[in-house]
Amino acid sequence: GRESPGRTAQRPRGAAPPSLGAYLSRLLSPHGECQLHDFRLSFRQLRWDRWIVAPQRYNPRFCQGACPRAVRHRYGSPLHTLVQNIICEKLDASVPRPSCVPAAYAPLSVLTIEPDASIAYKEYDNMIATRCTCR
């Protein structure tokens, strides 16, 4: 039932053609499977905007979704993940299935006003999830 490039000929007149990116995204990340999601927040919501001058908004993103029974290569999961899946299914259901977790992060620069009124620009590592995996 997946859309294929050949189906574009059947779409109604005037409809926008599906982008290659969207097509690849659906092909590579079936609905509900482990993948990155956006979570945009404003520091004003946390009332941290008195000290954090920039950025005003922050998208740390998060990983969510089901880990497939046969963990695919694109998740880069170690063999242990496959073994844990087998243990859960065949031997002991109390052993949890592998979890969808971040595999890589990006840093974030933050501009803050310090208690002594000095101003600090700092780069913090591991502030934004950039890739997900099953572990």
Binding site: G21, L24, S25, L28, S29, Q35, L36, H37, D38, F39, R40, L41, S42, Q45, L46, R47, W48, R50, W51, V53, A54, P55, R57, Y58, N59, H73, R74, Y75, G76, S77, P78, A103, A104, A106, P107, L108, S109, V110, L111, T112, I113, E114, P115, D116, A117, S118, I119, A120, Y121, K122, E123, Y124, D125, N126, I128, T130, R131, C132, T133, R135
Partner: protein, 281 residues
């Protein structure tokens, strides 16, 4: 749209009202109290706990740092991977006290000779100085031109008078100036790295700066140009070597490529051209 499910969810949950306490998320489960567990960003916030916003920085200094932030980061606040500098921390200090010397009829002083005291207590031991400058805000292009022709001399000492300071703590040198970031206001930077480096290396966290700027008298003008009436700020460009600071260059993958690229067998690094190297079934 910005009102995504995440933001809307956080807004309606009420759990973050009236004020989220990041330190509460870092508390040991046994109820113990240890701020040493906090990563640096949360330590910053820990220091604000229950307090008022406190002192506010000079608006010009804030403007400069916002400009610097825009220069160094993407729209999302991510450090640009194309940057050429090595520092990951920049701190701007304003003088905590100012003692002006008597001008004594000196007509060539653009800014009255002054002792500026900078409290550098916020500089952590893991932050290593790479560069430091005194930053003057200059209002007009004419003043900037005049300021560029000025000469200055500096003395940096540790706490106390130079006679009480440890040998070698007092340094002086002619300063060279250069024009820097921005157009309005314009900025004049004076490199003080060689003077400040030994003081910070000796763990001096309070630095007295005696600066004397002299400008040439313009022909036909009764007084020299006076472009530098506001005391300067001290900016430190630092390399934070702690584990929380990013190291080296990196690139931020797009969302689609983040899903498509596979880490290697160890799951640590993305395989270069990973999918292309996989055998097709």
């Amino acid at each position: 749209s910005w009102a995504s499910r995440g933001e809307a969810g956080a807004a309606v949950s009420g759990k973050l009202e009236p004020e989220a306490e990041p330190w509460s998320l870092q508390q040991p489960v046994d109820g113990g109290h240890s701020s040493s567990l906090l990563p640096p960003l949360f330590k910053v916030l820990w220091g604000r706990r229950g307090g008022a916003p406190g002192l506010q920085p000079d608006s010009r200094a804030l403007h400069y740092m916002k400009k610097l932030y825009k220069t160094y980061t993407t729209k999302e606040g991510i450090p640009k991977s194309t940057r050429s500098h090595l520092y990951n921390t920049v701190r701007l200090f304003t003088a905590s006290s100012l003692h002006k010397h008597s001008a004594g009829g000196q007509v060539t002083g653009a800014f009255p000779p002054a002792d500026l005291l900078f409290d550098l207590g916020r500089v952590a031991a893991v932050e290593h100085l790479l560069k430091s400058v005194l930053l003057y805000a200059v209002d007009t292009a004419a003043a900037l031109t005049s300021a560029a022709a000025c000469a200055c001399s500096l003395v940096l000492t540790g706490p106390g008078t130079p006679s009480q300071a440890p040998p070698g703590a007092a340094l002086s040198a002619p300063c060279s100036s250069q024009l820097a970031l921005g157009k309005n206001p314009r900025w004049l930077e004076i490199d003080v790295t060689p003077l400040l480096q030994p003081l910070l290396a000796a763990s001096q966290r309070s630095v007295q700066v005696s600066v004397n700027v002299t400008c040439p008298r313009a022909p036909g003008q009764p007084l020299p140009g006076l472009p530098l009436r506001v005391p300067p700020s001290l900016i430190l460009y630092l390399n934070d070597t702690s584990a929380q600071a990013p190291r080296g260059r990196w690139s931020f993958p797009s969302k689609s490529s983040a899903q498509a690229r596979a880490p290697d067998s160890a799951g640590q690094q993305p395989a270069a051209g990973g999918r292309a190297r996989q055998p097709r079934r």
